[in-house]
C-alpha cells in the first residue's frame, strides 16, 4: 500500500466516517433516532449516492443527463429479484453485482450514440432512454409488470448503507482528482479545446456516464432492499428531477454540496410530508429562483477539505 494513503487528511476522513457510524448506531440503539427518523436517515443516504453520482455526470463532466432514474431502476430490480430468491447478504451482493453489470452495459449502449449530442438535446435523449428502460421493466414478466415486486427482504442495514455512501464518495472524489477526472473537467469547460489537447472526449464522457450509472444502480439496490416494495412508477422522470434538484441546489461540481443538499432536502421532505403539493411547488420555485439569482448553486464549486483545514492550522 502506498504510504500516501495514510496521510493526515485521509485519516481525518476515515475518523469522521467512523464517528458518524458510531454516533448514529448509538442513537438508533438508544431509540433517539426512532423508526420514523430512521426512514429519513436511510432516504438521505440513498439520495446522497444518487446526487453524488449524477453530479459526476453533470457537474464534473458537464453532460446533462435526465435519465438517472433509469439506472436506479435497473439496480433496484436486479437486487429485488435476486434477494427474493436468496434472502440473505450473499443474495444482496449477487443482486448488486448483476445490477452493476447490467447498468454498465445499458449505460454503454445509451451513451455511445447519445453523448455525441450537446446540452439540451442530450438531456432529452437520456430522458427518453430512461423512460424506455422503465417501460421495458413495466412489460417484463420477471419484474412482475406494472404491479412491481413486493416482499423484498429487508437487507439494507445501517453499516451497509453508510458503506455505500462512503464508497460512492471515494470513487467520485478519487476519479475527479486524477488524469481521467481532469479530462472530464476539461470537457465541461471547453470540448473543442479538450479534444485539441489530445483527449478522446467521447471515451471520457462514456466513462463518467458508466461510473454514474453503476453508482445509481447501487443506490437502487439499497433502495429496493429497504422498502420491501418497488414498482415502475417509482422510477419515472420525476425521480430524475428529484435527484437533479439536489445537485442543482448544492452546486454543480461540488460533492460536499451534493451531500449537504441531499441531507437538507431529506429533512425538508420529512417536515413537508403531509403537504406534498406544496412541497413540489416549493421545489419548482426554488429551481427557478436559484437559476436566476445563483446559478452555481448555494455552495458553488467549493469543497470541504481536511487538507486545507490542516494546512491552515499549520500556518497559524
Amino acid at each position: 500500500m502506498p504510504k500516501q494513503l495514510l496521510c493526515k487528511e485521509n485519516l481525518a476522513w476515515l475518523g469522521s466516517a467512523i464517528v458518524i457510524f458510531v454516533v448514529c448506531s448509538l442513537l438508533m440503539n438508544a431509540g433517539i433516532i426512532n423508526s420514523y427518523y430512521q426512514i429519513t436517515l436511510y432516504n438521505i443516504c440513498i439520495n446522497i449516492i444518487l446526487a453524488v453520482s449524477l453530479n459526476l455526470v453533470i457537474g464534473i463532466c458537464g453532460q446533462f443527463s435526465l435519465g438517472h432514474a433509469g439506472f436506479m431502476c435497473i439496480g433496484a430490480y436486479c437486487a429485488g429479484i435476486v434477494t427474493k430468491m436468496m434472502p440473505n447478504f450473499g443474495g444482496f451482493m449477487i443482486g448488486l453485482l448483476i445490477g452493476f453489470v447490467i447498468s454498465a452495459i445499458v449505460a454503454l449502449i445509451v451513451s455511445i450514440p447519445t453523448l455525441r449530442l450537446k446540452g439540451d438535446y442530450l438531456a432529452i435523449a437520456t430522458l427518453g432512454f430512461a423512460e424506455i428502460i422503465r417501460i421495458v421493466v413495466q412489460n417484463m414478466e420477471i419484474t412482475n409488470g406494472a404491479a412491481g415486486l413486493s416482499g423484498i427482504p429487508r437487507l439494507t442495514t445501517w453499516p451497509l448503507l453508510l458503506a455505500g455512501v462512503v464508497i460512492s464518495l471515494i470513487v467520485v472524489c478519487n476519479f475527479t482528482r486524477s488524469a481521467p477526472g481532469r479530462a472530464c473537467l476539461s470537457i465541461r469547460e471547453d470540448e473543442i479545446a479538450s479534444e485539441a489537447m489530445g483527449i478522446n472526449t467521447t471515451r471520457y464522457k462514456v466513462i463518467a456516464f458508466v461510473i454514474g450509472a453503476i453508482l445509481a444502480s447501487m443506490a437502487g439496490a439499497l433502495f429496493a432492499c429497504n422498502f420491501y416494495v418497488i414498482n415502475p412508477t417509482q422510477f419515472t422522470f420525476n425521480r430524475s428531477i428529484d435527484i437533479l434538484v439536489m445537485v442543482v441546489f448544492g452546486g454543480m461540481g461540488s460533492m460536499t454540496s451534493s451531500v449537504i443538499a441531499a441531507a437538507a432536502i431529506g429533512v425538508l421532505n420529512m417536515i413537508l410530508q403531509n403537504f406534498s403539493d406544496i412541497r413540489m411547488i416549493i421545489y419548482g420555485l426554488a429551481l427557478v429562483i436559484i437559476m436566476i439569482f445563483k446559478p452555481s448553486g448555494l455552495l458553488g464549486t467549493r469543497e470541504f477539505s481536511f487538507k486545507k483545514l490542516l494546512n491552515r492550522r499549520k500556518e497559524k
Binding site: 432529452i124 424506455i132 473543442i192 428531477i241 403539493d277 421545489y283 419548482g284 427557478v288
Partner: protein, 292 residues
C-alpha cells in the same frame, strides 16, 4: 385495409394536436434556444380553463376555446418575463432547469387548486359520426382537423407576411443584429410566447374533447411527445413541427392498433433517439456548427 385507413384518420387527429403543441416548442426554441419544458403544462392549463369556463360559466365550444387561448397566451408571456428573461444569456442548461422548475410550479399549483383527481370533460361537440366509405369520422375529428389547419395557415401568414413575423425571423437568426436594426427584441420574444402558448391552449381544449378527461399531470407526456415531434421535423422549423406532429400521432396510433398499447410511449422515445442519432437536425432543420 379499412382498419388501416381508420387508424390513419385517428392518428392524424391525434397528430394534429401534437402539431399544435409542437409549434410552441419550435417557435420558442427557434428564437431563444430554450426547450420550454413548461409548454406541456401550458397546454394542460388550456384544458383546465376550457373545463372551468364551460362547466361553471356555461360557455360553448368556441368562446371556451378563445378563453383558453387568451389565458394561456398571457400566462406564457408572464412566464417568459419572470422566469426566462433574466436567463436569456445564461447557459442552456440553466435555462432548461428553470423551465423544469416552472413546469413543476404549474403542475402542482393546478393540483393544489383543482385537486389531483381526473375530471370528466363536458360534452362540447356533438358525438355524431359520418361514414365515408370504409372509414368512420367523428364530428370531433372534423373539428380538430379544421381548427388545426386554419390555425396553421394563420400562423404561416403571421410569420411570413406581418411585420411582427419578420421581426421574429430576424431575432431567431441574430438577436444582436436585429436589435441594431431597431427591432424590439423583448416584445418580439414575448409575442412568440404569446403565439405558441395560445396554440397550446387550443390543443388543451381539443385534447380534453378527444380523451374526455383531464388531470393536472396530463401535460407532461404529450408535452414531451410534442417536443419530440418538433425535433423530428427540425427544431425551429414551423412546417417541420407540423409534419413531426402528424408523424408522431400516426406512429403512436399504429403501434397501439397493430402492436401493443403498452409500448405506445416507448415507440415515441425510440423515434426520438433514432432521429437524434441519424439526423440530429431533424427533417427540415438547418445544420449549425460552432465557430472555432
Amino acid at each position: 385495409m379499412s382498419q388501416f385507413l381508420q387508424q390513419m384518420i385517428n392518428g392524424l387527429s391525434l397528430g394534429s394536436i401534437y402539431a399544435l403543441i409542437a409549434l410552441g416548442y419550435t417557435m420558442v426554441y427557434g428564437i431563444i434556444k430554450l426547450i420550454n419544458f413548461a409548454h406541456g403544462d401550458i397546454y394542460m392549463l388550456g384544458a383546465y380553463v376550457a373545463f372551468i369556463t364551460t362547466t361553471y360559466f356555461g360557455f360553448s365550444f368556441f368562446p371556451a376555446m378563445i378563453a383558453s387561448m387568451v389565458v394561456c397566451g398571457i400566462l406564457g408571456v408572464i412566464i417568459e418575463r419572470i422566469a426566462y428573461k433574466p436567463l436569456r444569456h445564461a447557459t442552456r442548461i440553466a435555462a432548461l432547469i428553470t423551465a423544469i422548475g416552472v413546469s413543476y410550479v404549474l403542475e402542482y399549483t393546478t393540483q393544489y387548486v383543482m385537486g389531483s383527481e381526473v375530471k370528466t370533460y363536458p360534452t362540447l361537440l356533438s358525438s355524431a359520426t359520418f361514414t365515408l366509405g370504409p372509414v368512420t369520422v367523428s364530428m370531433q375529428q372534423i373539428y380538430i382537423f379544421a381548427i388545426t389547419i386554419f390555425l396553421m395557415i394563420a400562423l404561416q401568414l403571421i410569420i411570413k407576411k406581418t411585420k411582427m413575423g419578420r421581426a421574429m425571423r430576424a431575432v431567431s437568426v441574430d438577436e444582436d443584429a436585429a436589435k441594431l436594426m431597431g427591432i424590439n427584441v423583448d416584445t418580439t420574444i414575448s409575442f412568440t410566447f404569446l403565439l405558441g402558448s395560445s396554440l397550446a391552449g387550443v390543443a388543451g381544449i381539443l385534447v380534453g374533447i378527444y380523451y374526455n378527461s383531464i388531470d393536472p399531470l396530463m401535460g407532461m407526456v404529450p408535452g414531451l411527445k410534442a417536443f419530440i415531434a418538433a425535433v423530428f421535423g427540425g427544431i425551429g422549423s414551423v412546417p417541420g413541427a407540423m409534419i413531426g406532429g402528424l408523424f408522431i400521432g400516426i406512429a403512436e396510433t399504429m403501434v397501439v392498433a397493430y402492436g401493443s398499447s403498452l409500448y405506445r410511449d416507448a415507440i415515441v422515445y425510440l423515434i426520438l433517439i433514432l432521429i437524434l442519432i441519424i439526423k440530429p437536425d431533424g427533417l427540415l432543420g438547418k445544420n449549425q456548427r460552432e465557430k472555432v
